[in-house]
């Protein structure tokens, strides 16, 4: 059975990204940089109404605009629009301005219908219906263990809280989109995707083109966070436009589009009641949660929850629990998987309740967690974090920090049930007589450093340096790899490369007669290949990877009690992910996870407007993301556990941040802001400083 070497030179060390020079010099071609010969701009017309009956779409005038080469519509005849920004038609043309003009020339016969954009309103019986004639939500799904009602009567302390999280938008730096060329020879798609294989399958299915005729290429792409697995409406429209225009069409969405129709993290409204025995043992838990995953989440579609339902009571062992959850439809864009689906909101609700109950019990929040979290790895991580963070000195009674600007600390734990390898992962390598070597895997590097992981593992096992390994990924003509989601890429790819390397060494030995072709013998062994390069294959092997990473994070904040302004001062993030491959790219994942979690805690929120049904903040001016001045000192502490094999880290790294920050704010203030994002407005309200509304308006 394959294994990982016990002594390593590159695995677990710090290797700079092998494609860093290309990225910083601009040589790396991202999907949005692709300029296929003769390419046209593509653009989408979106509904300006949140709900409407569409009688028809007239594109005649759009076709007349100079430079317009193709116009297609979505759906023929009558149709119903369910959210603001829903795709109606698309155009392709030689300039951006021609496309913009064409979009304005399209005539849409739309009759507005009643709509509802907020979850709480959509739950009311007299609410407008997202799906005509059908309720906006199905019956709650309920799980129950033990005897909750009598358990509460046995508790020494009980808290009740209402913890809410907003809809968060993925907002990768590179927007969704692709360039598609559809000719009689087939379809080529340069996609900004986290799953070249799934894009290939979705295009082939939607366009009715044989899979053998579809090729998807993703050399470099700028992030996805779960929202970029399929070709999407934009990919299919680009293909149809390309077919009609007989030219490649580049359809990159705008930042505006990103806020409307290509995914988000569902909201949560968690009513929690939780009780513990006098010794601090959790005893009873009850939650009623609802949230929205957008228009497709209603009773009519019977699904599409995309993470509304939370895995509660999350990390903790509670013998008696009742969890009831409702997925509510609203007239807004659909949710998609978003970095650790369900986990950050679960963490926020549960870890907030944990701190509130710890306060009521008079227990230290870390002690309270250690008592109730059965996971031995997290127990270890809390111990490390407590030291590193200086928890014992920093933790004070809530609200006891003196002065106007109060400091506070908080912590929270992370779990990620997945993060293991995808068994079907394959790859190949060509070894040339001159000793050069190229690895090819049909996986994509979504910015996490997958190329570098491949180079590090190959260099280690072949006795070469990472710079000597040429890596090609992001092409469905290569042996198929996994989608980059669920934190599975590294544990899929590393074992596959391990297998390719052992096959390579075996075959090199047979062909060259050199007993051990590694390291110093490499060139001599390769030379013996004569004129024929050696191509070897490999696939994922068991025993080299695992799943279920843990983690704990500690946060320190300063809160100005007169202005409500929160400054995140420090985060200590203690994480494990089995065998560490490259420390630099790993730390980078954790930094990114913390920063994203910070945005979730303090700034980010999709704002829907009741009156018009539009997304009010479809830009980075009012959809607020952390900037570098907001980012705290982040201290990443890694536990290397080679015995577990390789585990993914992308998701667990972002899970506990918001909860830890929320707890730190509550610790500083002595009252909880129980709704994310924690804005100055909400801090001042929690402190009771906001006067009642002077005049009611109509």
């Amino acid at each position: 059975m394959s294994s990982w070497p016990s002594q390593t030179k590159y695995i677990g060390a710090e290797t700079r990204r092998i494609d860093a020079p290309q990225k910083v010099t601009g040589q790396a071609r991202y999907s949005s940089d692709i300029q296929a010969p003769g390419w046209l701009y593509g653009m989408i017309l979106r509904s300006s109404l949140p709900a409407a009956k569409i009688g028809g779409i007239n594109v005649d005038k759009a076709r007349q605009i100079p430079g317009i080469k193709a116009v297609v519509t979505l759906g023929d005849g009558e149709r119903t629009v369910h959210f603001y920004g829903e795709e109606l038609a698309a155009v392709a043309g030689t300039t951006k301005q021609a496309c913009l003009d064409a979009l304005r020339a399209i005539e849409v016969d739309a009759t507005p219908m009643p709509f509802v954009v907020h979850e709480t309103d959509a739950k009311k019986t007299d609410s407008a219906k997202v799906w005509e004639g059908s309720p906006n939500f199905g019956g709650p799904s309920t799980r129950e263990h033990g005897d909750v009602d009598s358990a509460f009567s046995e508790c020494a302390a009980i808290i009740e809280g209402f913890y809410t999280t907003p809809v968060q938008i993925h907002n990768p730096m590179e927007t969704h989109g692709n360039t598609v060329s559809w000719t009689d020879d087939g379809v080529t798609c340069w996609a900004s995707t986290q799953g070249i294989s799934s894009v290939k399958d979705s295009l082939s299915g939607a366009l009715q083109v044989d899979q053998s005729q579809v090729r998807v290429i993703t050399e470099y792409m700028g992030g996805g966070f779960g929202a970029k697995f399929n070709a999407g409406v934009e990919g299919i429209l680009a293909a149809r436009l390309s077919r009609e225009a007989k030219a490649p069409v580049r359809m990159m969405l705008t930042r505006f589009d990103e806020a409307l129709a290509v995914g988000n993290r569902p909201s949560s409204f968690q009513k929690i009641k939780m009780g513990a025995l006098a010794d601090g043992t959790l005893h009873a838990f009850e939650m009623d949660n609802y949230g929205t995953a957008g228009f497709a989440a209603g009773g009519a579609t019977g699904g599409g929850g995309s993470g509304v339902e939370l895995p509660m009571p999350y990390l903790y062992r509670v013998p008696n629990s009742r969890v009831s959850q409702t997925v509510v439809a609203v007239n807004a864009g659909s949710a998609r998987a978003f970095r650790a689906p369900s986990n950050p909101p679960a963490s926020y609700g549960m870890e907030s309740a944990m701190d509130d109950l710890a306060v009521k019990l008079g227990m230290d929040p870390v002690e309270f967690r250690l008592k109730n979290d059965p996971n031995p790895i997290r127990q270890r991580e809390y111990a490390i974090g407590v030291e590193k963070f200086g928890w014992k000195d920093k933790y004070k009674k809530p609200g006891s920090s003196p002065g106007i600007v109060k400091t506070g600390v908080g912590c929270a734990g992370a779990a990620w049930p997945a993060g293991g390898g995808t068994r079907s992962t394959k790859g190949e390598a060509s070894i040339y007589p001159d000793g050069s070597v190229e690895f090819r895997l049909g996986v994509q590097d979504i910015g996490t450093g997958t190329r570098t992981v491949i180079a590090v593992v190959a260099a280690e096992l072949l006795g070469l340096t990472p710079e000597q390994i040429r890596v090609r990924v992001g092409d469905t003509n290569f042996p198929p790899g996994p989608g980059s989601g669920g934190s599975t890429t590294c544990p899929s790819v590393a074992p596959t490369v391990n297998d390719i390397c052992s096959n390579a060494l075996q075959q090199l030995q047979t062909l060259s007669g050199v007993a051990d072709a590694r390291g110093d013998n490499w060139y001599a062994a390769c030379k013996k290949l004569g004129v024929t390069p050696l191509t070897v294959h490999g696939q994922w092997q068991p025993g080299l990877s695992e799943s279920r990473a843990c983690g704990v994070q500690f946060a320190e904040v300063a809160v100005d009690t007169e202005t409500g302004f929160v400054t995140l001062k420090k985060v200590v993030a203690v994480h494990d992910c089995g065998l560490i491959i490259d420390k630099l790219t790993l730390e980078s994942q954790i930094n990114g996870g913390v920063i994203m979690g910070m945005g979730y805690a303090l700034y980010e929120e999709r704002v829907m407007d009741d009156l018009s049904g539009v997304v009010l903040n479809p830009n980075f001016e009012t959809y607020k993301l952390p900037g570098i001045a907001d980012v705290p000192d982040i201290d990443v502490v890694l536990i290397n556990m080679p015995e577990r094999g390789v585990i993914g880290i992308g998701e667990p790294a972002t899970v506990p941040t918001a909860a830890a920050i929320g707890n730190a704010v509550a610790n500083a203030l002595g009252v909880r802001v129980s709704s994310l994002p924690i804005t100055p407005a909400k801090v001042l309200a929690a402190l009771g400083k906001v006067p009642p509304v002077a005049s009611t308006t109509t």
């Binding site: 409500g564 900037g627 005049s695 308006t697």
Partner: protein, 321 residues
Amino acid sequence: MNAFQYATAQSNASARELAGAKGMYVAGGNDLLGLLKDYLVPAPDILVNIKALPGMSQIQRGDKTWAIGALVTVAEIEDDPDIRETFPGLHEAAAEIASQQIRNVATVGGNLAQHSRCWYFRHRDTVCLKKGGDLCYALNSDNRYHSLFTGNTCISPVVSSLATMFAALDATAIVLRDSQETRMSMDDLYHAAWENPLAHNSLKPGDLITRVEIPVARHRSTYMQVSDKHTFDWALVSCAAAADVDGGKLSSPRVALGSISPVPHQVEAANAFLDGRTLDDATASAAADMILAGAKPLEHNGYKMPLAHALIRRALSKLVA
């Protein structure tokens, strides 16, 4: 955006002539291009680039008055060591504006004449009062960033950080109107927006801001704002204050607030109350009460009351520190 002519003016007179009735001036373009791309203002038939106009790019330092040309960039104000010395608040206000990239191209004239930042006005698919519709969405819906005061039914606040500071410094905008120089206080410059929901400021088509004059009368000045984020974010509330301080006593103090009214919010009675007083907590607090008296917090912007109160107290105590 709609098609337009483009011309570069070489003199003030030609700028006005080129612009005609339906033209617009373009300076740094930060604000204007966004408006045009989203079709938020009536399509101009010509854009007149005013960046080549002579004599508008200087900071002139006088004994009694400084003149800041309308084409001086926000970054130039931020970086000017003499401004930092003479009008520290102006330096602070400039430094808080947007990002370095925007400050590098944003001009004083453009900053003062910028349009509403209300998210209903800026949205391409809502026709609000300010765009000629018949409904102020903000009044009835999400008004978290909106005004506590207004003289009409539009609650879009003035957001120019420079205007807020200029108001506290009692600065005057010099505007070329019908070939006459008109002097406008900051209150004058925005008064139309106080009265008329369609107005963003009091400038009429063809009006050209040439410079801003600041009296060298108040040797202490400061600007502070609170946003949701640390940098590159609009103020939720901003506060500017200026005064002379003599033996702990304030003289000729002025306080102005941004983001809470269609005009830089100033209460002369509060300025008069502070004049000649030694500042202590109670005095600062009483002044803040006077400045905020009559405010009408709405469903989502009530937090601006304690925030504004705190900023007024802090700005005043920074003046005497």
